[in-house]
Subunit: 366 residues, 2 copies
Amino acid sequence: MSELGADPTRLYVRYAVAGDVAAVAEAIRVEQTIEFPADLAPEWIQQEVVGRVESQDEDGVVISFAPGVYAGGLGQVLNVLWGNVSLFEGVRVVQVQLPAAEHLGLRGPRFGGAGMRELLGAPSRPLLATALKPMGSSSDELAATAAVLAEAGIDLIKDDHSLGDQPWSTWRERVARCTETVREANERAGTAARYLPSLNVPAHEVFERAHEAKELGAGGLLVLPGISGFDTMRALADDDDLGLPIMSHPSMLGSHVVNPAQGLDHGILLGLVNRLAGADMAVFPNAGGRFGFSVEQCAQIRDECAAERAGLASALPTPGGGMTLERVPEILDLFGQDVVLLIGGALHRGDLRANATALREAVETH
Amino acid sequence: MSELGADPTRLYVRYAVAGDVAAVAEAIRVEQTIEFPADLAPEWIQQEVVGRVESQDEDGVVISFAPGVYAGGLGQVLNVLWGNVSLFEGVRVVQVQLPAAEHLGLRGPRFGGAGMRELLGAPSRPLLATALKPMGSSSDELAATAAVLAEAGIDLIKDDHSLGDQPWSTWRERVARCTETVREANERAGTAARYLPSLNVPAHEVFERAHEAKELGAGGLLVLPGISGFDTMRALADDDDLGLPIMSHPSMLGSHVVNPAQGLDHGILLGLVNRLAGADMAVFPNAGGRFGFSVEQCAQIRDECAAERAGLASALPTPGGGMTLERVPEILDLFGQDVVLLIGGALHRGDLRANATALREAVETH
């Protein structure tokens, strides 16, 4: 993709616009900065603070923002990128050029693809993930399932994202039981599986629960940025005392991407923004599963998970949402080896242990 | 609106569906609960945990969810309402029937409309709000503006939502200066204005900054649930040591509402969900301003801010986004007296003090 601009201090965004491009461009550059009649602002603010139209054509506009405007952290970066513009119809973020790392001031993924491979002792093969389900199962049942999956060689065993504090399996009980059985299974089988509880917990307890999960032996965290906020995920990733890998789940995020003429491109939100927010792994529904993402949209996420962006580590694309064992070769053809295959319910059709073992063999030999 | 169901323990949701209603209904009831092949789940889970199709017609489906499923707080309520369904095209939440208060377990707005009137000593007239802007101004400049607005009788003086920790006005400096000048202005003029700083701050500091703002004398908080998460707003509203009114700003939330066939209805997200999350005031762009909301959509938000819902206090609709003094009568015709008029940049065209005074007089005499 071509560069949007040459100033390493500025954030450049290309907005696709359906409608009167010049009018919308003028609205965006003001709306995302001073939210004030531009003619009433002091001249220097009009020049230095209001967004700058860098180029414009019939499809949209490139606007750039000064470092002072996006200063203060990821929340404000998102505000600038999409905050009030989200209220416009017919505007979509289709390309983002980040400022240089020292101006951006975000650490990004703690582990990234290379770090995850190192943690899991898997230098080259695709990584494997699955989810503990179905809701309604007891903590003991989920923990027993986790043990089977760990022994069979599944690398990452996460809670279903919706598991929180339901009566059938409360959060603390589940995290304690699953960490225990996964640890024992690893010892028995010589595997290195990690259990990732869902941080689907009250907002005022997110950080406390994350640390509690770590103390109990969790090997990572499943975070729902569409519910908890992207900057909450960023703060968890940045926490040196925590130091756990982060898997990002797309709950509630669909509205931002699935409407073709409005929102943010799939790769921007689920690839780039996830990386800005410290996700080591970005879950999204793969093409041909239970949801309607296309192959092209998935490829865009794949590319934005890996592209060189302001020195940020990569995130591993983690396609899921109705994947099956039979589709593994096709998924690897699309994503290559740097992928986490997230296969959930399908492992339970027939014998769980045999299916999980077959999945591990499939990626060893691909 | 007609009732969706009779069981006070269940959460009922009507989803409008463009496409094969029966297939999408089946997908939703599974997707929002067990995310697992329904036929592989134990029979009791199929009956008790999976969502139940209550009724179905050519426009959509009503699905209900058991109390165990939505248990654990607002995050999980949102997960059930919209989590994975957000990834479908052509599905929109158009009606919600909450369970009874004792099952819902959410306190809602601390003050609500009546409480805000009591706080502000304004038993019947429309309330007035404005924003400190433009970005680029110094803390001293913003604080001086705040003083003028407070003396002129504006009730609620909030930071522009995008003000965070920009170099021109850092957060602590601005909050300290604005609380000081608003307090002094109230003493001079006998007014009761409240300054609401924007909690556009890093996620791991949100609660600490909220308390710091209160200690400095802030009279409320501007929260961005689309950035910080709805449950973060809920936790701030629920904090008895804080006890501050909450104004909700729609930054990033537009994607959930502006696409006609996908998302959540305007009233559901910006009225009902804001109330579930403790907002005393719900900011949204009024019809005919800088954004494209229609009169009908605004009326829906108005109605959902006030409707009887599981014993929740009301929220005050706070239409803004390019409002002017000339439009006050028309806005009051649409919203009635139980409204916060949010007029920002327009007050700065001509003499700020004269405009703010005229606005206060207009609502006194309407």
